[in-house]
């Protein structure tokens, strides 16, 4: 198997903060690796090391066959980077932003302009092409940034939270672009906070926590390891709560949890439990106002994999 990205033992500290603490990862050619992790897990640092912006303290990495430490210029010839914070030039127009990259890559003025027009069209930015990027919305900036990273037709693409802050429609658009690129043979490493995004795009997922890889596998494998899905039931009449709890325990084999609104929830292995629970409750004459199975959220994945909640959860608790 050929790997477009292979990293071994990457370590990097900012002062006393170990941002990366021995990270190993591989991305086979033409696949998408999703890097999941809470705030501060080291995702951005890993992207910056692999895209040659930072030199690791220890460990080594090869991208597109070249060592990021000793052959950074060769690596740069083959990669595209969209950073976490849109690095568009606000005072230039969208077209100028993209064409400038083309010029820097040695294209003629006409070629750079044509490439810019082509990319902007691909991101539905043609109408805004000649407007200063300052006037772009957050989502437009992200798409412009993505367009700029594709000018040199990179073999390997690094996307650091490419859809954070995008509305659902723009997010789907970006996903479509990524899928097209992958279909064309591009390898992608993308970081995200959304399990759904990794689900949609990634062939493989690694989960980061405090600078380490705490889990890797396909999306299904990871979800399986987290205890799968949650079944929630709320009876129409609170008087039926005891019956509901009994049925859930019978089906799931573990004691369900009950919240203040009378909603009972229990982890289940498969959606099939839904039908069983519905049948049992119907025969016992229990009316329901809610019955659902939901996939584990990213927070639950973290909880299961790392033994602690995500940082943002802790912050929420503090704020509450």
């Amino acid at each position: 198997m050929t790997h477009t990205i292979e990293a071994e033992g990457l370590t990097l500290s900012y002062g006393s903060t170990k941002a990366l603490d021995g990270v190993d990862l591989t991305v086979p050619a033409g696949t998408v690796l999703g890097v999941l992790g809470p705030n501060g897990a080291g995702k951005t640092t890993a992207v910056r090391v692999l895209s040659t912006l930072l030199r690791p303290d220890a460990g080594h990495a090869r991208v597109a066959g070249f060592d990021v430490r000793t052959q950074p210029q060769e690596v740069r010839r083959r990669i595209g980077l969209t950073g976490q914070y849109a690095s568009v030039d606000e005072d230039l127009t969208g077209a100028q932003n993209v064409a400038m990259i083309g010029r820097l890559l040695g294209m003629s003025r006409a070629a750079a302009k044509a490439r810019a027009a082509e990319l902007l069209a691909g991101f539905s930015l043609s109408d805004a092409a000649d407007r200063s990027a300052k006037t772009y919305s957050g989502g437009m900036r992200r798409r412009l940034d993505l367009a700029a990273s594709l000018v040199g037709r990179p073999q390997v693409l690094f996307l650091d939270e490419p859809t954070t802050g995008l509305d659902p429609r723009s997010r789907t658009e970006v996903w479509d672009v990524i899928r097209r690129l992958v279909a064309d043979g591009t390898s992608v490493l993308l970081t995200t906070q959304y399990l759904e995004e990794a689900d949609e795009l990634a062939d493989d997922i690694v989960v980061f926590d405090t600078g380490r890889v705490v889990a890797h596998g396909t999306s299904d494998e990871l979800k399986h390891r987290t205890g799968a899905q949650t079944l929630t039931v709320r009876p129409r009449d609170r008087a039926d709560t005891a019956t509901v709890l009994a049925v859930l325990e019978q089906v799931a084999g573990t004691a369900p949890a009950l919240d203040g609104h009378g909603t009972a929830s229990v982890p289940v292995r498969s959606e099939a439990a839904l039908g069983t629970v519905l049948d049992l409750l119907t025969t016992q004459g229990v009316g329901l106002s809610e019955l659902a199975v939901r996939l584990p959220s990213l927070d639950e994945v973290f909880l299961a994999l790392t033994g602690h909640a995500t940082q943002s959860d802790n912050e929420k608790e503090v704020a509450a």
């Binding site: 198997m1 050929t2 790997h3 477009t4 292979e6 900012y14 050619a29 910056r48 895209s51 040659t52 912006l53 930072l54 090869r62 597109a64 066959g65 070249f66 210029q73 060769e74 740069r76 010839r77 083959r78 990669i79 595209g80 980077l81 950073g83 914070y85 849109a86 690095s87 568009v88 030039d89 005072d91 230039l92 100028q96 400038m100 990259i101 083309g102 010029r103 820097l104 890559l105 040695g106 294209m107 003629s108 070629a111 750079a112 490439r115 200063s132 700029a148 990273s149 040199g152 037709r153 990179p154 073999q155 064309d184 043979g185």
Partner: protein, 272 residues
């Protein structure tokens, strides 16, 4: 050990293989163009360099002129070369602040991930500042011409004077490039810039001739590179010795480049 796949044909970018002869220079010029476009979008960025020469001239000529030279018109003639260099000195400082902003905003991350010369973004910024320098000088010469300032050595000599001053300013810019890349916040860059610029500009022959100064200050003033630049400009515009000050100016310029270009490049490589 695995190796990467050969890039499939669709990844070949023909435009890139026909790269220009001097890619580093073209990249620097492209990035200079970027800064110039920013100025075009935002003409107020030139306000400092357009107003400063006028304000300095008015202040110094009419406030000090009478006391220093007895006659403001004579003083104007003495002063123009001084203000010219002084304005450039203050105009160079902006580059540090601009670079610091670019880095903080992440604009440079993109450049650093591209296969371009490491120096290109810095050289581009220095080249773009020529627009500021030329604006400042044009405003100064036009305004003082209205007040009656005339050069005596002819147009080619005056042009050479301007070129010398701009050349020195471009070398001095590297000091501020280095400061801008080393210091964390843009505000601090500005403060440090002023600290460096003030003694050099005012401890020079810009406003008064060195003979009038106390001994210790004379020693500083006579060896101040800014004095050499001003004396060169004065000689080329109004007559007087040129070869000596010009040699010093070139020497100082090369020294600045030799010291601060490597320092700036190192700071750029290290800056996270």
């Amino acid at each position: 050990m695995t190796t990467a796949t050969r890039p499939a044909p669709r990844f070949d970018v023909p435009e890139i293989s026909s790269a220009p002869k001097l890619p580093a220079l073209q990249q620097a010029l492209t990035l200079a163009w970027r800064n110039v476009v920013k100025i075009r979008h935002q003409p107020e960025a030139l306000m400092d360099v357009s107003l400063q020469p006028i304000i300095f001239t008015v202040l110094f000529v009419f406030v000090f002129g009478g006391a220093i030279a007895g006659d403001w018109h004579d003083y104007l003639t003495y002063l123009v070369p001084g203000i010219l260099v002084q304005t450039l000195m203050f105009a160079t400082g902006g580059i540090g602040v601009a670079l610091n902003n670019d880095i903080t905003k992440g604009v440079f991350d993109r450049f650093r991930s591209l296969p371009i010369a490491r120096s290109a973004p810095l050289v581009g910024a220095v080249l773009a500042d020529v627009v500021r320098f030329v604006t400042a000088i044009a405003v100064l010469l036009a305004f003082t011409a209205l007040l009656g300032f005339r050069t005596t050595e002819g147009l080619p000599a005056a042009a050479l004077a301007v070129l010398t001053a701009i050349g020195f300013a471009m070398c001095l810019s590297w000091v501020f490039v280095w400061i801008g890349l080393t210091v964390r916040s843009a505000g601090a860059v500005q403060g440090i810039g002023f600290l460096a610029t003030f003694p050099l500009t005012f401890g020079s022959t810009a406003l008064v001739s060195a003979d009038t100064l106390p001994g210790w200050l004379q020693a500083f003033t006579r060896n101040n590179p800014v004095t050499h630049v001003i004396d060169t400009v004065r000689g080329l515009m109004l007559g007087g010795p040129v070869a000596g000050p010009l040699a010093w100016t070139v020497g100082w310029s090369l020294l600045l480049l030799a010291v601060f270009v490597p320092l700036a490049m190192r700071a750029y490589r290290r800056r996270v």
